[in-house]
């Protein structure tokens, strides 16, 4: 083949070195083009190859891979959250593919009474819920959404502020804007995972008080961080800043973690949500029906807004 191409190229020019250079350039084109062409061909084909249980990935990161991956529960979540901005969530979920949840003392959801889907909706007040907080809210979105749908509430919006701390929520006007826009009847606030090592507790307490004031009369549940290590007092600050019956500790929860050993994994988020829901149902200052759903993976309601405190402090 090369000889025929070089014959065509050599017409009108007898320079030997030029022909060999041309041949080498064409070889380069073929060597670079061949593997990329194969990869694109595979990308656009409906075929999915795999080695053992691992699918051979395609160029398009969102291409469906039908070979069964080790993960059983992450695809539902990654399908809806797949942009690069959401890589923290994706990283968690991908990590989960390779981790099996360890045993925990937390009571699993399926051992608790479940609310049938046909339940009378007027047995409880329907809430418009706003979930806001740091990256941990990213994992709570789906289990919370399931609870909301099953119990006749509406998840109005989720504000996931990656890398955020109480300073971002206290000193910025982001919370005021969210409350004004979505007019929730109940707020769930989860923060603190990025403040395990902080020691400037006075400053944090000031921000926490500012945050509390922003909520005004709106009932809320302030959820303490699911500690991955012993904190330096941030949980205490949050507890003291919240109203009685409106704060729940999560620091001693034993829940399975993702690959980063900080954030809970998918199963861990579900268990944490069960714990939060149980608190709302039974111990909260303004309790309402929040029973475990009979089935899960409902279509996501409301709006999900993402921000990153590393790039956008908000104040």
């Amino acid at each position: 083949m090369w000889s025929s191409i070089s014959f065509i190229l050599s017409r009108g020019n007898n320079s030997l070195s030029l022909n060999s250079s041309r041949r080498a350039i064409l070889q380069a084109a073929a060597i670079i083009g061949f593997p990329v062409f194969i990869l694109f061909g595979y990308n656009y084909s409906t075929l999915t190859l795999g080695v053992v249980d691992y699918p051979i990935k395609k160029i398009d990161p969102n291409a469906p891979l039908t070979v069964q991956a080790p993960s059983k529960n992450s695809s539902q979540h990654t399908a809806s959250i797949s942009t690069s901005e959401k890589k923290e969530i994706i990283a968690d979920l991908l990590n989960n593919r390779y981790k099996t949840p360890s045993d925990t003392s937390q009571k699993p959801a399926n051992t608790r009474p479940r609310m049938p889907l046909s339940a009378e909706k007027d047995q409880h007040i329907s809430q418009r819920i706003l979930l806001l907080g740091d990256s941990e809210t990213g994992g709570l979105i789906y289990p919370l959404n399931d609870y909301c749908v099953a119990n006749g509430h509406k998840l109005e919006a989720v504000y996931t502020w990656f890398s955020a701390s109480i300073l971002n929520f206290g000193y910025s006007n982001r919370v005021d804007e969210l409350l004004e826009t979505y007019k929730p009847t109940f707020v769930i606030f989860v923060v603190g995972l990025n403040e395990m090592y902080v020691t400037d507790l006075d400053r944090r307490a000031e921000a926490a008080a500012l945050f509390r004031d922003k909520l005004g009369d709106i009932p809320y549940l302030w959820v303490g961080p699911a500690n991955f290590t012993t904190d330096q007092g941030i949980n205490k600050v949050f507890e003291q800043s919240a109203d009685p019956g409106c704060f729940v500790f999560s620091k001693d929860l034993e829940i399975p973690r993702g690959g980063d050993h900080r954030h809970p994994n998918t199963e861990g988020y579900k268990m944490w949500m069960d714990y939060i829901a149980s608190y709302i149902q039974s111990n909260h200052a303004y309790p309402f029906n929040f029973l475990p759903p009979e089935r899960t993976n409902f279509k996501l309601q409301g709006r999900v807004i993402l921000a990153n405190a590393a790039k956008d402090k908000g104040y």
Partner: protein
């Protein structure tokens, strides 16, 4: 099929969310097709230049979109200004040079530094000038320096101005160095246009090796380490001192593999096209002192700063104190060039101070003892690594916070837990250290072995490398770090 047609349609459009990098597989396919056409042109043909310029401009369009017009405008103005400078003598010649430099810098200053200046003026004088949302044209820092070097060289009569707009356009737009260097000088590059095209099998293998290693360095090593670095710097207060220290090492390797990987791909592609670009890195982390480090790191920028800032300021011709001052100012400008932020200014100043201290206290020796060379390498690597923290941190304050964590909250015993929780980070750090610190001879032997492989194996090698990259990457591809400068 619909998806294929849709993607083909988008192939010709610029997307802000998916700008073209060398690491885009779509680019590699386009490169292969482009090379088929390139082979048909005779070396000295103006058509060849036109074909290359057209592809380069398309590449820039895919990277920067509408800023292509600005780029073309700059090229045409520089071309005319250089010819005008050449035709003048005396003070008018000098005045026109200053005007050309001011004009050339104006775009860079506007896009890169105006918001920084406004923010600082507002803080200093309590004024309320509003900042604008500005998108930095990709590669503007590189092509501005390239056009300045051309104008200054013409002024100094070191080169003749290009008589042909196509030739000058080719020098400026040549896509391998277009968006992130290496910064190429006209006097090195323009003469190559007239050289006969020599590209044989050994050069082909060298270029393929360059491209493959560049892709692996960037996509497998740098991007993977980058994920860990992002995690730490996105929420610095949430991590221990040891994790910050390891993030420092990870970033040191990330930036090296990222930028040197880009340079490898650029040099490899240029080789296929028949042009030899100078090396941009030469084992920089094995430098035994900071002066040597700057001779091995981002060589094209270091030489540019030396030739167009340090020496014109006076270099070492105006006494020792002035030499130190010029050195400091040169590094300060180097810092500012990297970004409009106090952290970059601090980074440049700190390197300036290190260079001065090295010149002050360490006298050059003919041959140093082995232990002192090793100690020098360790110290230099750590000094450079600590200063990289300012480069990577999201702000000046968080950089100090990170350093404070390293010194006050590091417990070496945490390493055991870290190895357990993040084995992939530890593995990559070990692999990266092995590549960086392996003896040059060993690396050269390995390169020679790979180059001796038969050519028919190369498509398979490239296919395996590209598929491995797909297997390990996450859904997002990180742009090259130096695209932002």
């Amino acid at each position: 099929m619909n998806q294929l047609l849709q993607d083909f349609h988008y192939f010709f459009y610029y997307s802000l969310k998916q700008p073209w990098f060398f690491t885009e597989y779509g680019f590699l396919l386009a490169l292969a097709l482009f090379l088929v056409g390139y082979a048909f042109f005779t070396p000295k043909s103006q058509w060849k230049l036109g074909y290359l310029i057209a592809f380069s401009l398309f590449f820039y369009y895919k990277s920067s979109g509408p800023f292509l017009l600005l780029f073309v405008g700059v090229i045409m103005c520089d071309y005319l200004l250089a010819r005008w400078i050449h035709s003048l003598e005396g003070p008018k010649r000098k005045a026109l040079l200053f005007f050309s430099i001011a004009y050339g810098l104006s775009f860079l200053l506007y896009f890169k530094y105006s918001n920084f200046v406004i923010t600082n003026v507002n803080e200093l004088f309590e004024t309320r000038f509003t900042t604008k949302t500005l998108f930095l044209p990709i590669g503007i820092s590189f092509y501005t320096f390239q056009s300045l070097s051309y104008l200054i060289d013409v002024y100094r009569k070191e080169i003749e101005p290009s008589k042909n707009l196509l030739e000058y356009g080719f020098y400026m737009t040549f896509f391998p160095h277009l968006v992130a260097g290496p910064i190429v000088r006209a006097k090195d590059f323009l003469p190559q246009i007239k050289n006969p095209l020599i590209f044989d099998q050994p050069l082909l293998k060298e270029s393929l090796l360059r491209i493959t290693t560049g892709l692996v360095k960037k996509l497998l090593i740098a991007d993977f380490l980058g994920k860990y670095v992002d995690l730490i710097h996105d929420a610095p207060s949430g991590f221990s001192g040891l994790e910050h220290a390891l993030a420092m090492y990870a970033y040191s390797f990330q930036i090296y593999f990222d930028f040197s990987g880009y340079s490898d791909i650029a040099i490899g592609i240029a080789l296929i096209l028949g042009y030899r670009m100078k090396e941009n890195f030469f084992n920089p982390y094995t430098a035994e002192n900071i002066t040597v480090f700057w001779r091995k790191w981002h060589i094209s920028l270091s030489l540019w700063l030396r030739d167009y800032i340090y020496i014109p300021l006076g270099g070492n011709r105006k006494g020792t104190v002035n030499m130190y001052l010029f050195l400091f100012l040169t590094m300060l400008i180097g810092g500012i060039w990297h970004g409009a932020d106090w952290k970059f200014i601090f980074w440049g100043c700190a390197h300036g101070v290190l260079l001065i201290l090295h010149k002050l206290f360490v006298k050059p020796r003919e041959k140093a003892a082995k232990w002192s060379t090793v100690l020098g390498i360790i110290l230099t690597f750590h000094a450079v690594g600590f200063l990289w923290i300012f480069f990577r941190a999201t702000s000046f304050e968080t950089a100090f916070e990170s350093i404070q964590f390293i010194f006050t909250k590091t417990n070496p015993l945490d390493l055991v837990g870290f190895c357990y929780t993040r084995p992939e980070v530890i593995s990559l750090l070990v692999i990266a250290s092995g590549i960086v610190f392996a003896p040059w001879k060993m690396k050269q032997n390995l390169i020679n072995r790979v180059l001796s492989l038969p050519l028919y194996l190369w498509p398979v090698i490239l296919l395996v490398a590209l598929q491995l990259i797909l297997q390990f990457r996450d859904n997002s591809i990180e742009p090259f770090i130096y695209f932002q400068f």
